[in-house]
């Protein structure tokens, strides 16, 4: 059910874009909607991040995954249990760039019906790395369509990415790895019984969007041979804030662009906001130096406590009888 809704929605988005293109609504689907999507993305994410950033961190609660910094002769694990801000930055870099925590992943097994064992399980890590890194490279490659002259690093990346020189135009490595990554993540959602059980429509939807974007992109480059010059003309005009919609752009392009626009606008309101949230996770981005540097809770308030005086008042006779010193002597009867 969740799958079908998500698939239906993604297909619908693509079809709507195609139809728009075919019906000559180039202005709407090529200019207005992408522009709005970008605004929603930027504005929405800014609001989201501001919302997080303006929420206090009352306690310093890093999850420690290595030896603490304590005695001089015991070697601390600076990346898994950072003691300074710089070290915490290093930990964050590992998380963001290498998905460090997913590298720990294991799969539990019951051996001979009585013993638990844990096998390293790196599928998720690999699938996630392929998808995200390829996506980043693909996005950078897309700058070719939005710049004139094309910056050197974009051309360089493109050349490197196409080094296999298979096919004409050459197949990019990241095209393959991106589709492989997305397909794996989708397949995992279908086949892993626990993951399937927890999946919402909102978990399938972005994956279908990504898959749709990828497949329509491949079709445009390798099969449909769309008019790239016209598309670049459109993109350049957008970035010069003087939009002009050239004739002869394939409807598939509008499908592709509408999928991307929907994804972009969807990000701030969905789990894809993790792209910003990951930087703000208090269990990862704080140094574990709690006993060395005091952390202040901005909304701290006084609480009712049971003071020593109240304690002694209630128990003084017993304390005296037990030979314990007291602050106030026992009153004589």
């Amino acid at each position: 059910m969740n799958v079908l809704v998500a698939l239906g929605a993604a297909v619908g988005v693509f079809a709507a874009g195609m139809a728009g293109g075919a019906l000559g609504l180039g202005w709407l689907f090529g200019v207005v909607i992408p522009g709005l999507a970008l605004l929603v993305f930027l504005g929405g994410l800014a609001v989201k991040v501001w919302d997080w950033v303006s929420t206090p961190v009352p306690f310093r609660i890093p999850t420690t995954c290595g030896q603490q910094t304590s005695l001089d002769w015991i070697k601390p694990n600076k990346l898994e249990n950072p003691h300074t801000g710089i070290q915490a930055l290093g930990r964050m870099a590992l998380e963001v760039l290498c998905f460090r925590s997913l590298l720990r992943n294991t799969k539990a097994e019951m051996v001979q019906g009585r013993r638990l064992a844990y096998r390293t399980s790196l599928g998720l890590w690999l699938g996630a790395m392929l998808m995200h890194w390829s996506l980043l490279v693909i996005l950078i490659r897309h700058l070719r369509l939005m710049t004139n002259p094309v910056p050197a690093f974009v051309s360089f990346l493109e050349a490197a990415d196409g080094f296999l020189e298979i096919g004409l135009p050459a197949v990019f490595v990241t095209t393959v790895t991106f589709l492989a990554g997305v397909t794996y993540l989708l397949a995992r959602r279908f086949t892993n019984p626990q993951v399937r059980y927890i999946s919402l429509a909102g978990d399938y939807f972005p994956l279908f969007l990504l898959l749709g974007i990828g497949l329509s992109g491949v079709w445009m480059r390798h099969f449909g041979k769309v008019d790239i010059a016209a598309i670049k003309e459109l993109m350049l005009s957008l970035f010069h804030f003087s939009p002009a919609v050239p004739e002869g752009i394939s409807p598939v392009f509008y499908g592709h662009l509408f999928l991307a626009s929907v994804l972009l606008a969807y990000i701030p309101f969905s789990k894809i906001a993790h792209m910003a949230g990951i930087f703000l996770s208090p269990t990862r981005n704080l140094a574990n130096n709690n006993r060395a540097v005091r952390h202040v809770n901005p909304w701290d308030y006084p609480v009712k406590v049971h003071t020593y005086e109240e304690y002694e008042e209630e128990l003084r006779d017993k304390m005296v009888a037990a030979g314990l010193p007291v602050e106030k002597p026992l009153e004589k009867e």
């Binding site: 009352p58 609660i61 420690t64 005695l71 019906g113 990951i278 049971h306 304690y311 304390m319 037990a322």
Partner: protein, 555 residues
């Protein structure tokens, strides 16, 4: 016939029939099954009253009507809004989970029960679904399709069941790509339940006791003195040394605080005897306190406010007794509070000095703000400087493994100090498998206030991963002793080991230290602190009589 609150009621074959595949019905449509042995009795009205907590009443989990206040729904939603505006952790964790499932089979309760709502991600979704419904745009528009769920009394019951089936161990957080800590979410969930007067008695009674008497067990000052004196008698019996026990002594250099479990429960008491012997031998200028007679803090399992209310006594007492710094005993959750919360909650401790070992001169700079160090940091430093006279062979009959307790592991990172100490006092030390120790350690199954007998089925299930790893080293290396620096562990792991790895006993580390220590003026050591004969140190024929006479005199 054994009852559901006894381990013998459960057959291993039955508990091992675990199906990790989720049921056909979606989780929102699968009702909770309140089966005896899997839930904890509600907090009694009298305990709520001691603490001025809302809606004190006596009720039962099986009741249809939990006697919630009229405006229960508003209280919960307002409480959620309040916490969302106060805790970035809560908000970010609500928003960022991608349901990748990396955390799913990392929770001991899921591994041991197969109940999908014990997957950390679903435990969190219990709250997140309500969050979506009332706090997010997509949830408001698309409702159930977006994973949103109406808050009903059934949801409250489900929260109660599953937030008290989480030991706040943080293992899931280690594996989550965003560090989402389901323990943090459980803490929020428990606070929200608390707004309706829903607590479990196993937590809230200790909190009430601790508030009034300074410790969870309601040990009063004279009882405290007697308990330690009894220990001194037993110590004299096996070592021939009479230790002195300074209590509530003003002007001492160090205040010593340890969990009250060490005072009463076997085998924690032997660790406590170890503390007394160690400090006596060092001639430490220290004091116990009857007011701050518990470092343990079940407030952590109740609310940030309760935690603060209970923990205040430690600095207050340090100030009153005019000590220079504080030393903390072997405890798990106490160290989460001391390390990650105390300074923020009750500090600044500017009236204390940076801890400095009077024996070695080492200055513990890493505790320069909190002014409190862990006993294992203190002891590791002593051993490193050759300040303890040790005869490791006295522990040669033990083949020891070490259970990393959740809180000191994942909320502090004290891994090497205890290992260094154990290796220094034991010749035979073996690690459990890598995925079950250090930051990946498995919970005892009874932390965070779940270690009560009426919860026996869940404790045994939750203890399975730990028990299984223990059984492994028992079979492979002949391990017969598991050390743990946590008072809850020393109570709950006994049950877990007896059930899943029978034959393995539990000990604190200081007990091992004291058994290996050669004390000034000690008599010939033939028995350990448990009063058991030490193999290889048995008496010669001629000596037996005198010692037996001695023992008879002592009692």
């Amino acid at each position: 016939m054994s009852k559901f609150d006894e381990a013998s009621h459960y057959r291993q074959e039955d508990l091992l029939k675990i199906d990790w595949r989720p049921p056909k019905t979606p989780w929102m449509k699968t009702p909770v099954d309140f089966r005896p042995g899997t839930y904890i009795y509600p907090g009694k009205a009298k305990n709520l009253k001691v603490l001025d907590l809302p809606n004190p009443r006596d009720w039962s989990v099986e009741d249809q009507d939990w006697k919630l206040p009229e405006d229960w729904k508003k209280r919960v939603l307002d409480g959620m809004a309040d916490r969302l505006s106060k805790y970035r952790s809560f908000k970010v964790f609500m928003d960022t989970c991608v349901r990748c499932g990396a955390c799913a089979d990392k929770c001991h309760f899921f591994l041991g029960s197969g109940d999908p709502k014990n997957m950390p991600v679903l435990r969190a979704e219990l709250l997140r679904a309500v969050y979506r419904k009332d706090f997010t745009a997509l949830g408001k528009i698309f409702g159930e399709l977006a994973g949103a769920r109406e808050l009903t009394t059934d949801v409250i019951k489900e929260w109660f069941y599953y937030f008290y089936q989480c030991t706040e161990c943080r293992r899931c957080s280690v594996f989550c790509p965003y560090g989402i800590d389901t323990a943090e979410i459980t803490m929020m969930g428990r606070e929200l339940l608390g707004l309706l007067g829903i607590y479990v008695n196993w937590v809230i009674e200790p909190v009430a006791n601790c508030y009034r008497f300074g410790n969870h067990l309601a040990i009063q000052p004279h009882g405290f003195v007697d308990t330690l004196e009894f220990m001194a008698d037993d110590i004299e019996d096996v070592t021939g040394i009479r230790v002195d026990i300074p209590i509530n002594r003003k002007g001492a250099e160090i205040l010593f605080v340890t969990p009250s479990g060490d005072l009463v429960a076997d085998p924690g008491i032997y660790t406590c005897m170890g503390y007394l012997l160690l400090f006596h031998e060092l001639g430490l200028d220290y004091t116990w306190s009857t007011y701050a007679s518990d470092g343990g803090n079940f407030g952590l399992f109740t609310s940030a406010e309760a935690m603060k209310r209970l923990n205040a006594k430690i600095y207050a007492e340090a100030k009153r007794l005019k000590v220079k710094w504080i030393l903390g005993g072997e405890c798990g959750h106490m160290w989460r509070v001391i390390h990650q919360y105390m300074d923020t909650l009750n500090g600044p401790a500017d009236f204390l000095e940076v801890p400095r070992s009077p024996i070695t001169g080492t200055v513990f700079k890493h505790a320069r703000s909190t002014k409190m160090i862990h006993l294992m940091e203190f002891v590791a430093d002593l051993i490193r400087h050759n300040k303890l006279k040790l005869d490791k062979s006295r522990n040669d009959h033990l083949r020891v493994t070490f259970h990393d307790s959740c809180n000191p592991s994942r909320a502090m990172g004290i891994f090497e100090e205890p290992r260094y100490v154990i290796r220094s006092v034991c010749n035979h030390f073996y690690e459990m498998p890598d995925n079950t120790i250090r930051e990946q350690t498995f919970c005892c199954g009874g932390g965070a206030g779940l270690g009560t007998d009426e919860n026996m089925e869940m404790r045994l299930r939750g203890g399975l991963p730990r028990g299984s790893a223990l059984r492994h080293v028992q079979e492979k290396y002949g391990v017969n002793m598991m050390a743990a620096m946590c008072a809850i562990d020393r109570a709950t792991l006994v049950t877990v080991a007896d059930y899943w790895a029978p034959g393995v006993k539990i000990t604190g580390i200081t007990e091992l230290v004291a058994n290996a220590m050669v004390f000034t003026g000690e008599k010939r050591r033939t028995r350990n602190l448990r009063g058991e004969p030490i193999p290889g140190m048995e008496l010669e024929e001629s000596e037996t009589t005198t010692v037996e006479q001695g023992a008879a005199i002592h009692g």
